[in-house]
């Protein structure tokens, strides 16, 4: 297969991975290849990235696909001999005290201590070959597992010994130890990524990059399903939410400034005309008074939507910093105003912890009860919704077979200027089981909001 075919396959794989590479960018990338030193893999990677990847969120997916289509060369004679040795002893059992394993862990500890990136990459290659081999899906097919490699070599357990070596005795228990711990944790994480890459490289060599690329690429933060997001995903999402809220606020401000201009500012126009000999060449308008937008958010924080709730709280937090008049209410089967936890300048992690501990959102039942929540809201806080208020309800509309109290919700929605319901479930699951999506959907428009890009669409289309 020549370079041109490889280029076409690579670009096709990028597109399959959700990176939109336009034809113009494709041509740019091909031109860039002609200008660089093709034998340098770092340059090749940088050239493709510069021409084809224009969003930081796409970068991890790009790197995965790049490693599959342009794997590192095993150039030295050592690794060739190593691979031959692996092939000679397939399926050998590895026990914790195995001499090769002990020796490998010693080498790994040295490289982690030194922080040598090339050395770690070399060890990842050796480690996957020796300790990560598993039987493939079909007879005669070899496969490898990053999980098994990491479990057997367990670099995390080296941490204590590494700290012992790197620190002076009087530095134990001080900040210096924390800093070193952080450094080693970062290096171990780097080793983990190298092992992942190596496993994918070997799988790609065995069954072709196309097949591996289909399964290996993780969705980028903007497409992650919010109901199934892990902690690491959530922190990636948090970084994305902040600009989204800022954009939303900027958009509202923009519409206020440009939508309608005020009356002629006679005084300023005349003053300005003095510089052009009394001819009013430029008119000045008075700015309009910006319309204040009130926002009331009702947020389900029950266990079934934990990660969605955390995401919405992030969004609320981001919005709270941009708008002056946002009121936030959280509920499970009891309802409490939680605006106080989201004062501007407060730390988000702390706000969420305090909300869990202090807010009175759980009653005796402890599971979501929309009916009770809406009734309580109407009784206690109905003054929060005025003619200019936008109402946003966030939740999965699963009321545990209780009555969702649609009339109360209808009264609330009727009073607000606009009302929307954001549902983190996919549309197909609505109205299944205890979901009352269509019942409440008749009262206020319900929008599917499973990931950041859907949220961005909502922001763009609706607000």
């Amino acid at each position: 297969m020549d370079l041109f075919d490889r280029h076409l396959d690579f670009v096709a794989a990028l597109r399959r991975a959700g990176i939109q590479v336009s034809v113009a960018e494709d041509i740019d990338a091909a031109n860039a290849l002609g200008a660089i030193d093709m034998t340098d893999r770092d340059q090749l990677r940088a050239a493709y990235a510069a021409a084809a990847v224009k969003r930081p969120a796409h970068r991890p997916a790009f790197d995965t696909v790049f490693d599959l289509y342009f794997p590192a060369l095993l150039d030295d004679a050592g690794s060739a001999a190593e691979e031959a040795a692996e092939r000679a002893t397939p399926g050998r059992q590895i026990y914790p005290g195995d001499p090769t394993l002990v020796q490998f862990r010693e080498q790994l500890a040295q490289q982690l201590l030194a922080g040598d990136a090339d050395g770690l990459a070399q060890l990842a290659r050796v480690g996957v070959g020796r300790f990560g081999a598993v039987t493939g899906g079909a007879p005669g097919v070899q496969s490898w597992s990053a999980y098994i490699t990491m479990a057997r070599t367990s670099p995390d357990t080296l941490l204590a010994a590494l700290l012992e070596q790197a620190l002076l005795p009087d530095e134990r228990g001080t900040m210096a130890e924390r800093l070193m711990r952080q450094t080693f944790a970062a290096r171990i994480a780097a080793f983990r990524r190298l092992v992942d890459t190596e496993v994918q490289r070997r799988l790609a060599a065995e069954s072709g990059p196309d097949r591996v690329a289909r399964t290996a690429v993780r969705p980028s933060a903007e497409r992650l399903d919010l109901l199934h997001a892990t902690n690491a995903d959530l922190s990636a999402i948090r970084r994305e939410v902040q600009p989204l809220a800022r954009r939303l606020a900027a958009r509202l401000a923009y519409d206020h400034r440009h939508g309608r201009r005020g009356k002629l500012d006679f005084r300023r126009t005349i003053r300005a005309s003095l510089s052009s000999g009394g001819v009013p060449m430029q008119t000045h308008m008075r700015p309009r008074h910006p319309r204040k937008t009130d926002l009331v958010i009702l947020c389900d924080v029950s266990d079934s939507v934990t990660s969605f709730a955390r995401f919405t709280l992030m969004l609320v937090f981001a919005l709270r910093e941009q708008f002056s008049r946002v009121r936030v209410f959280a509920f499970v089967d009891d309802l409490d105003e939680v605006t106080r936890f989201f004062r501007p300048g407060v730390d988000i992690v702390e706000a969420v912890t305090r909300l869990d501990a202090e807010a009175k959102v759980r009653g005796w039942y402890g599971r979501t009860d929309y009916g009770r929540a809406f009734r309580l809201f109407e009784e206690m806080h109905s003054d929060a919704i005025a003619a200019r208020t936008s109402l946003l309800v966030l939740g999965d509309a699963r009321s545990n077979y209780g009555d969702p109290n649609v009339p109360a919700l209808q009264r609330l929605a009727g009073r607000a200027r606009r009302a929307y319901w954001l549902n983190p479930e996919r549309r197909g699951a609505w109205d299944t089981g205890d979901s009352c999506a269509s019942q409440v959907g008749r009262v206020m428009p319900m929008v599917e909001c499973r990931n950041l890009s859907q949220l961005a669409d909502f922001v763009r289309d609706v607000v």
């Binding site: 336009s22 340059q43 940088a46 930081p56 954009r247």
Partner: protein
């Protein structure tokens, strides 16, 4: 401008900018393919510095267009000097035909050149820096498209000005707003993230004279730790350079708990971030 990616890296280093392989390659590509380069990344990682370094090491003049909300074409491209035009009309002899006066006042003499047109018209080598493009309104982006793709500016009264020598164009953005696809498509793209600990140490050694290697290492490590906390504003590279300088001025040669608590204000600029860092690093005993 440059011969190869490796040479680009060396020359940037010569201008005091330690570029990693990706940055050097991308700058080299932008120069040799004559494409604009869009640089994104968190604030204070050296995006603007990169443009300055490119200008220094190629001996070009740096023309800078600082973007802000409300920037319009009369500030970015060109403007007619209407006061002078008015004078010209008033001073015209009364027997001169209007057509003649009209032709007179739309000439080079009455044109005020703004950065974009200025960069296009220069015959010497030029680096054009369009800083913080995300701060402008969407209309300005559309205005830029002609300049960025064809390196030309069309002035309705005069005609089209085409660049005799294409400038090296560098745009920076903090991603306050998603830039349009049309703009991104015309540019090469580089994302500069916070540097790794090893690189940050090297940059500190380069940018802070007389700093000891150990201290640089400790500052880099502490900065990485602070960035891993969930802060409102993570410390940037510029701030860790300031931090190292501060420590040097204070005569601190070892960054321990006391020194960190005393100088936290140099790196963290929000009260809530202070509280969080002090809590996470167990510094509460020293903070009072």
């Amino acid at each position: 401008m440059f011969a190869s990616a490796a040479e680009t890296g060396q020359r940037l280093a010569g201008a005091g900018y330690l570029a990693d392989s990706a940055t050097a390659t991308t700058v080299f590509l932008a120069a040799s393919l004559e494409r604009p380069l869009l640089v994104e990344g968190p604030a204070g990682v050296g995006k603007t510095e990169l443009a300055k370094a490119v200008a220094t090491c190629t001996g070009s003049e740096l023309i800078r267009l600082q973007c802000y909300e409300g920037l319009d074409e009369s500030r970015a491209l060109y403007e007619w000097n209407y006061k002078k035009q008015l004078l010209r009309i008033q001073a015209a002899p009364s027997d001169q035909a209007w057509e003649r006066t009209h032709d007179d006042i739309f000439t080079e003499e009455f044109l005020l050149t703004r950065p974009l047109l200025g960069a296009i018209r220069r015959t010497e080598s030029t680096v054009l820096l369009i800083d913080e493009i995300d701060k402008t309104d969407v209309e300005v982006e559309a205005l830029l498209l002609e300049v960025l793709s064809d390196f030309q500016v069309t002035i309705p009264e005069m005609g089209t000005v085409v660049a005799t020598r294409r400038p090296f164009v560098l745009l920076t953005s903090n991603a306050n707003r998603e830039l349009s696809e049309a703009l991104k498509r015309r540019c090469l793209y580089l994302y500069i993230d916070y540097p790794t600990q090893e690189r940050e140490r090297d940059i500190l050694l380069e940018r802070v004279p007389n700093i000891h290697r150990d201290l640089a290492e400790q500052v880099a490590r502490a900065a990485a730790l602070l960035r891993s906390l969930e802060l409102k504003k993570a410390p940037s590279l510029a701030e860790s350079i300031d931090w190292a300088r501060t420590l040097l001025v204070l005569g601190v040669d070892h960054l321990d708990e006391t020194a960190l608590t005393a100088t936290l204000g140099v790196v963290l600029k929000h009260a809530s971030d202070h509280v969080r860092a002090i809590k996470e690093l167990d510094l509460s005993a020293l903070a009072d």
